[in-house]
């Protein structure tokens, strides 16, 4: 049995934050879960996927976050508890659904998990999704610990059902990827059968209906504020006159710093776990009891600005400090020492930070940048495109996935990136206003996610570029989740359909379509050249399974290669491919046979034909 399905209430188990969220959903009786994978949220869904195979949970990897939320909006409106999981930027994709779903509301509970990523450990921006609460008028809850990450899920479902509104469950990387012991609660049996009763005058927001619904939303927001005032997750600790208002992981740093600075008796901490709507009356009372207040929150001054506004309403003049006075930055994530230092400065407490080591004489440490894996099919594709476009003035928009790493030298394939699926749309733009040959890169899962509309646009508006679809048969970057192009039968999982990328590309009217096997170097270069010379929209589908994934599925791999005595040391293999299986020893090029996946690309480009497969002895 999956460990998160353990019935034993009161059991203590070491859980990752994301496992705790999944357990919280199980305890809350979740019946439906949908997602598009994205770090740092991915493990929540991995667990749901496994749980769904041995329980009555319905789970799906949807094509993108918008679709995931549409599915969950419908199941929640059919009366069953539903959860929709995504990374922070996924909310931008789902926003169109989200903003109007706030008008329509739900019947069964709907919790939307958004995993924010301060410092951008694995993201392209560090947007603060608490603003989505304010933007839409929906409640936001945020845990501070792994235990709360579990406990607050059931709470979020409860408020969702009381308000008949979706609730945003906002985390940050340091919640998702922290581990701590968690005490299990009881599992509520899920209500799995749903139905919808037709109510078009509340569920079809034509202008006349929407006008009523907006008023209804605002009235629900008032009820939500009352809930926030009485929430057990908005609590005050201590009786000092130095006030601190904090949320999420900042609360942990504040609590530790209060102890370290020995000022526990002087401060009063207001931990906000229900952060939209803010508990305004509670905050006003808190401000009146303080001489000075410091607001500690990662990201934007979301609470700080509200707190200042509330002070103005009460004509309070106490100092309210935070980001506007540079005690904290809007950049990156916090850490315990940073918060300790700011608290000491703010409240004028003697504090000498630990003396940092003098590292001025440290030896130079070689970088360890992430790299495409040994034998990665993307490397082979990039090489083919690079060779095929030699001598051309090119611009290469790229997209989100492992292949983004192709922008690094020596491949240096990737000049422009915005967000999931944008490579297709921006290629249209570049092809209109530059004289460069536009070559765009997009992965298979990203193509399904949001690349198709851009391609249709290109065909319809008759743009001129080559789209290279890097089809490695999985969503590799986030941990090999399936997508609509994956044959689930090969994974011994029944009940799924399958969508062919090639059929889509041809169906939308692309007239020059080529499928290449990127490990066949010469053929691939030739096919890409033809595509590049085509005037109009051309598509190259480069098909080869992700080598890591193939390894995990125990698929047969090619024999590893070695560098024979014929090698004259041109080093084209190293300088042009940069496959990590290569190493130099005693001035000679070698291949690590354990890392080598036998793709044979290097052997095909070696001018001396010196790279050969290792024969069985």
């Amino acid at each position: 049995m999956h460990k998160l399905l353990t019935e034993h209430s009161g059991l203590k188990m070491l859980l990752l934050g994301n496992e705790a969220i999944a357990r919280g959903a199980v305890e809350a009786g979740v019946a439906v879960a949908t997602t598009y994978p994205g770090t740092p949220s991915s493990e929540i869904s991995t667990n749901f996927f496994q749980i769904s195979r041995e329980s009555n949970l319905y789970f799906e990897y949807s094509t993108n976050e918008k679709v995931a939320l549409e599915v969950a909006a419908a199941t929640a409106n059919s009366g069953v508890r539903s959860m929709c999981v995504m990374k922070h930027v996924g909310m931008n994709v789902a926003a169109d659904v989200f903003m109007t779903l706030a008008y329509i509301g739900v019947k069964g509970g709907l919790v939307i998990v958004t995993a924010d990523d301060p410092y951008m450990f694995s993201s392209q921006n560090e947007q603060d999704n608490r603003y989505y609460g304010k933007f839409s008028g929906l409640p936001v809850v945020e845990p501070s610990s792994v235990q709360e990450a579990k406990d607050m899920v059931a709470y979020a479902f409860d408020i969702s059902e009381k308000l008949q509104q979706p609730v945003i469950f906002r985390t940050t990387t340091r919640i998702n990827h922290s581990t701590a012991d968690v005490v299990f609660g009881e599992i509520k049996a899920p209500e799995t059968s749903g139905d919808i009763s037709k109510d078009p005058f509340n569920q079809v927001p034509v202008p006349a209906v929407a006008r009523n619904l907006h008023a209804k939303l605002l009235s629900k927001l008032e009820t939500a504020e009352k809930m926030s005032e009485n929430s057990e997750y908005n609590f005050i600790m201590g009786d000092g006159v130095w006030g601190i208002i904090c949320n999420g992981v900042s609360y942990n740093y504040v609590s530790d710093a209060a102890k370290d600075l020995n000022i526990e008796h002087r401060i009063k901490i207001f931990r906000i776990g229900f952060s939209h709507p803010m508990p305004r009356a509670m905050i006003k009372r808190f401000l009146k009891e303080c001489e000075k207040v410091l607001v500690v929150e990662e990201g934007e001054p979301f609470m700080e600005e509200t707190v200042k506004m509330l002070a103005q309403e009460e004509k309070l003049t106490l100092p309210i400090l935070g980001k506007s006075q540079k005690y904290f930055s809007r950049l990156y994530e916090f850490d315990p020492a940073l918060v300790r230092q700011s608290m000491a400065t703010c409240f004028d407490v003697a504090y000498t930070p630990a003396k940092a080591l003098d590292l001025s004489d440290i030896l130079e440490i070689p970088d360890r940048p992430p790299n495409l894996c040994a034998g990665c099919s993307h490397r082979a594709t990039f090489y083919a495109v690079k060779k095929a476009s030699e001598g051309m003035d090119t611009i290469c928009p790229t997209d989100i996935g492992c292949y983004t790493l192709g922008f690094l030298p020596p491949l240096a394939m990737g000049d422009f990136l915005i967000c999931m699926g944008a490579s297709a749309g921006v290629s249209c733009g570049f092809s209109i206003k530059t004289n460069k040959k536009v070559i765009s890169f997009i992965g298979d899962s990203t193509f399904f996610h949001s690349g198709i509309p851009g391609l249709i646009n290109a065909v319809y508006n008759n743009h001129n570029f080559t789209m290279v679809i890097l089809d490695n048969g999985t969503t590799a970057m986030t941990g090999h989740q399936p997508h609509p192009g994956v044959d689930m039968k090969k994974l011994n999982i029944d009940g799924y359909g399958m969508v062919s990328i090639e059929d889509i590309v041809r169906a939308v009217g692309v007239s020059h379509v080529t499928v290449i096997r990127p490990y066949r170097v010469k053929k691939s270069i030739h096919a890409v050249k033809e595509a590049l010379n085509f005037k109009g929209v051309s598509v190259v589908i480069s098909k080869e399974m992700c080598t890591l994934y193939a390894r995990s599925l125990k698929k047969a791999r090619g024999k590893p290669f070695f560098v024979s005595a014929k090698c004259k040391g041109h080093k084209d293999c190293i300088n042009e491919l940069a496959c990590p299986a290569f190493f130099i020893e005693d001035n000679r090029v070698n291949i690590d046979p354990v890392m080598c996946s036998g793709c044979s690309v290097c052997a095909q480009i070696c001018p001396e034909h010196a790279i050969l497969p290792i024969r069985d002895t």
Partner: protein, 198 residues
């Protein structure tokens, strides 16, 4: 109870996350409060994996620069890179078996000299325990048990509040059945190795 802060750095694939899990489980078995966090963005693609483990009365799961009590490094150049997490009182334990990054293996940059590296760490911190954990892993019968060798060295130093018994129980519980024997052997080898060093 006092707070102890442990940083583990490794290269993706060295079993750092499993070692952290074993430590966490052992803490749970001995009723020691523990919280951990991990950063492993692109570990599978050759990057660095860092775990922070905080024992005792604290709520934070991350460790600021200069605030690690113990630094456990699975690879010598990564141990050196993480020295910003240390202070004068930090105990450093490191594997000396190199895993040179691609820039080094292809002659684009130079791996630091191991003697100089140890000299530097020794000069700047309270104590350095350094040995070749990879050869001990091979001796234990499993080349992948470097993490267990280093775990043995860590426990021997008494720098973290965990007993040998609890760690062993945790190894039996948390690691794959067919590897338990070699893992325990690796643990013992690391434990003994650390005795004579530092």
């Amino acid at each position: 109870m006092n707070t102890t802060r442990l940083i583990i750095v490794a290269v993706g694939g060295q079993g750092n996350l499993l070692a952290s899990r074993v430590i966490g489980e052992a803490a749970l078995l001995s009723d020691i409060p523990v919280r951990m966090s991990e950063i492993h963005g692109m570990a599978q693609r050759g990057g660095v994996v860092e775990s922070s483990i905080v024992f005792g009365d604290a709520q934070s799961t991350v460790i600021s620069d200069g605030e690690a009590d113990v630094l456990l490094g699975f690879e010598p150049s990564e141990t050196l890179r993480a020295l910003n997490k240390c202070n004068l009182n930090t105990v450093v334990i490191t594997n000396l078996a190199k895993l040179p990054s691609f820039t080094v293996t292809t002659g684009k940059s130079v791996y630091p000299n191991l003697d100089e590296l140890q000299e530097l760490i020794r000069k700047k911190t309270a104590k350095l325990i350094a040995f070749d954990a990879a050869s001990m892993a091979i001796q234990a019968g499993n080349v992948l048990s470097v993490n267990m060798v280093l775990l043995g060295a860590l426990i021997q130093t008494h720098t973290v509040p965990l007993s040998t018994e609890n760690i062993k129980e945790s190894i039996m519980k948390r690691t794959r059945k067919d590897f338990v024997e070699s893992n325990l052997k690796a643990f013992e080898l690391g434990f003994s190795a650390a005795k004579g060093l530092g």
